[in-house]
Symmetry: D2
């Protein structure tokens, strides 16, 4: 018996939140935003399930609001809710908003290399129903994890990227991804993406860096951590920008280490933090809990 | 030079949040609450600075909302805001609300015994301006900390409570407290309060218990923790009810220990957790971040 | 391609520590133990790689020492080292000792039920070479994980245990286990083992309990945690004794939760803590880092 | 009543560990060190209370051992124990050792500026008997904390250090310190010490840096942390070297923050971590638990 056969009928499907939507409002703070949004939702009999609001400066700063609401037959009502919100926003608010039907999971592609711990952890959490995503595909520059990925019922594509010229690999990536995914996760994918690729892809990319950024930027952070003699090591999930390891941080965590830990021990212990941090970042992004603003994130976790 | 002289001109006063108010709405969930509250605030040109909302069950559960808002000349407008909120709530909502001017710090009495770490930490944080409270008095069943408390410019009252009959002490406590304080903090006060006292006092009482409740209820939790061989010890801040160590939990934290730690080590290390946990609970209570519901707390921290 | 084929050539074998041994000395404290043990090892040209020592009371308490040492051709020398240690101990020390060749991994059977997170985590870690163990078999009272377990190249045995009478299942367990394993891990195995079974099995059994013991003993700890309104939830790995949830604690950890977390959320978040705590306990036990003493453990981690 | 009067009879004296000594052995690893040291101690009827050993490389690396032992009339025996250890080490070991009578607390000078949280925390802990040190003096470039420090019965010296030329202040520091202290603690002392001063002082200096080093080296780390949008902030206790913020790290810790925290919030929350981390570093250093090796520390905590 193979896993490929066994997996499907055990797999929990990701929990789609039927008849619920998320609404992100983001822009210039002013009096009356909460009331205006609330009035539109109330008019449509939408029940607010959770609401988080934040202003970075009460005097003309930036405003952020995440609302989750539910109502019967949401799909039918959603276009009119959107139109009414648009009309309301046009009454002098300087705000953008995003409305999303939570019954439709976001589609993701996971990029991996040889290290499997982050990849397997995401696939396994997805199978358990912990992540409201559809894993559209896994792309790796190494073939090693093909069998395991496919045993979860997920397409695996091997795109080698040896050598200095990544343009062929990136073209292949774009062909696979464009139109098919809502975001990309780099699950310890050990290749640098070009600025051009990031721009043309046009969807958010989440990376897990194996250090507590901004400490130990670049390659080999565990060796650098050992060299510096730190007493904690960490991991950082962040959105990818053209500037390596400089994008907006979504989540971080650390674990205590000691002089007894070798670089290999740091890698082993850090791997646990990496998978935890990455899975939280993916879940929060999937649930529209993360708002990017300048080079920061507002996380309504 | 004595501390009693030196303290005043160094003391930061607790930061009163001028022209801001907190609004707690709590009751039966229904569509339209956020909109109704938002509309009243918008009508009064009140700018919402932060808003947290939670429903424990989207289908007719309990609703909790904490809003902080600001506007010029708040004190003048507050009575009318309250009247308008009352009128709105009377339109069929089953909700209570509490509106509080944040420029007026809550008044607290701190009860202590011999152990000084929680008491001193609260007084010191207060002096630094970290806690928006007025420390009206310290009451202790031991005289030991009198000098240190008074050096912070705070009245100290010694109320002995030896013997089985606490009624004399409790009568004295009530005489000191009634009308003078908005809540009481038991900062490692090693005496049990009678149900009658709690009832007659009529304001919230926050206790710090030196274990991770519900583990090690009752006296001597560190000795019990050593006996059981736990690998973490903790502390719990909770509201006091008639049932010892059973009241609603506000905050908890833990610290790692090992077989090498003696009971005295556990006490020393636990003391650090106690003071941190208690100070967080006091701050959150002072800022109206804690809502009691049945035997639980909703904490919008 | 199936995982069962792919796994072997990717699988890192558990790192056997060639030419190294662990020595645990445990008994009544006295002057001269470290010197006596050190002299025997020095005589045999054994280099001490790490040494941890602990006495629970300097005046006639219990003594615990873990030493890891290496030398060339250890296997040849080990019998004489053991004989010399025995002779030394017989000179009036009241001590037991255990000497173990670290190139031979301990053999373990993992018991599971339907929940797979602890089981899979151990198998993944084992495949990555993180755990110096040989997984001899997995035994489950449910057939669900058979395919996945076998894809790791590990035997899976389904032993149903429905009904009140567990004697048939336990007899089957003993037939599978006796002589084949050095310890047993209950990886969220949801059945109670009889005292008779524990006694006849005669090897250590490690269990993971889904609460921060001694809080929430028994069934349904997450529901109890929600009911009590705790702000942290935890997991506890302990040796199994006849008294349910009362055996010596090996490791514990916690994670912060809030009023927003449902019982299902607590289960999901607790699962992460469970697998981390269990894997640490298994690794420490495998490396002879845990010494049982009365109802406690000394952990030289 | 002043604190200065009240303090003495409440003050627990730092617990001197009568008739116990610590022995640090540090040098080139070789077979037989533990046995040789153990034999000397056993010859003198010294009972080993705790022993930690570490080698950074089993093949000719560096060796570190901390031993605490007790015997009656230790003071009488100590010179002969030292002579015997010296003789033993001279038999071909490449090792240094330090033997210290634990009944004599180390003498420390604490340097502070305006921020008082680390200073006060050390003084409180010292008064409670948590730190086996003698606080010889407090030196500050601001007079603000004079009254409070003296209320603990500790000398306070105000040494201004305004302006670019610190040589006058440093000369004054040396005059106060030389011969009087065994180490110095910079408890948020906001001045840079010159390499010449560090060299002439000749005793270890412990600093608390208000970031998780090596992140946010230099001034204003909380502002930098806010700017970078990190989700955890930390503090680092390290030995001071000529290279600012680059000395060997003794201890680090972090606390979780969010987008809601202003720079002032980060300072407030970081202050709690700073005082905890610094107090652990001071305690460990006082108990000879920290061994410097190259730019690292071995901490037997």
């Amino acid at each position: 018996m193979t896993i490929a056969q066994a997996a499907p009928h055990r797999a929990a499907s990701p929990t789609p939140l039927a008849d619920h939507a998320s609404l992100i409002v983001h822009g210039r703070d002013r009096t009356g935003i909460v009331a205006a949004v609330g009035a539109v939702l109330a008019k449509h009999q939408a029940n607010i399930v959770s609401l988080d609001q934040y202003s970075d400066n009460p005097h003309g700063g930036a405003f952020f609001q995440r609302t989750v609401f539910g109502r019967d037959n949401l799909k039918v009502a959603l276009p009119q809710i959107e139109a009414d919100l648009r009309a309301e926003m046009d009454k002098g608010f300087e705000l953008d908003f995003t409305l999303r039907d939570l019954s439709i999971p976001k589609r993701v592609a996971i990029f991996a290399s040889k290290a499997e711990h982050c990849l397997l952890d995401l696939l396994w959490r997805h199978r358990r129903g912990e992540l409201p995503i559809t894993v559209a595909m896994v792309i790796s520059n190494h073939p090693d994890t093909a069998g395991e990925v496919r045993s979860f019922g997920i397409p695996f594509f091997h795109v080698p990227s040896a050598g200095a010229d990544k343009s062929g690999a990136e073209a292949e990536h774009l062909r696979l991804l464009q139109g098919n995914v809502d975001f990309v996760v780099l699950a310890r994918y050990m290749q640098i993406l070009s600025g051009e690729f990031i721009g043309r892809l046009g969807v958010p990319i989440i990376n897990i860096h194996h250090s507590f950024l901004p400490a130990f930027i670049g390659a080999g952070p565990y060796a650098k951590a050992k060299e510096r003699g730190v007493k904690l090591i960490g991991a950082t999930a962040h959105y990818v920008t053209e500037d390596l390891d400089e994008g907006p941080i979504i989540e971080q965590d650390v674990v205590r280490v000691s002089h007894r830990d070798t670089v290999a021990d740091l890698q082993r212990r850090g791997a646990d933090v990496e998978r935890d941090v990455l899975s939280r970042a993916v879940r929060w992004h999937s649930e529209d809990r993360v708002i990017r603003h300048e080079n920061h994130t507002i996380v309504f976790a």
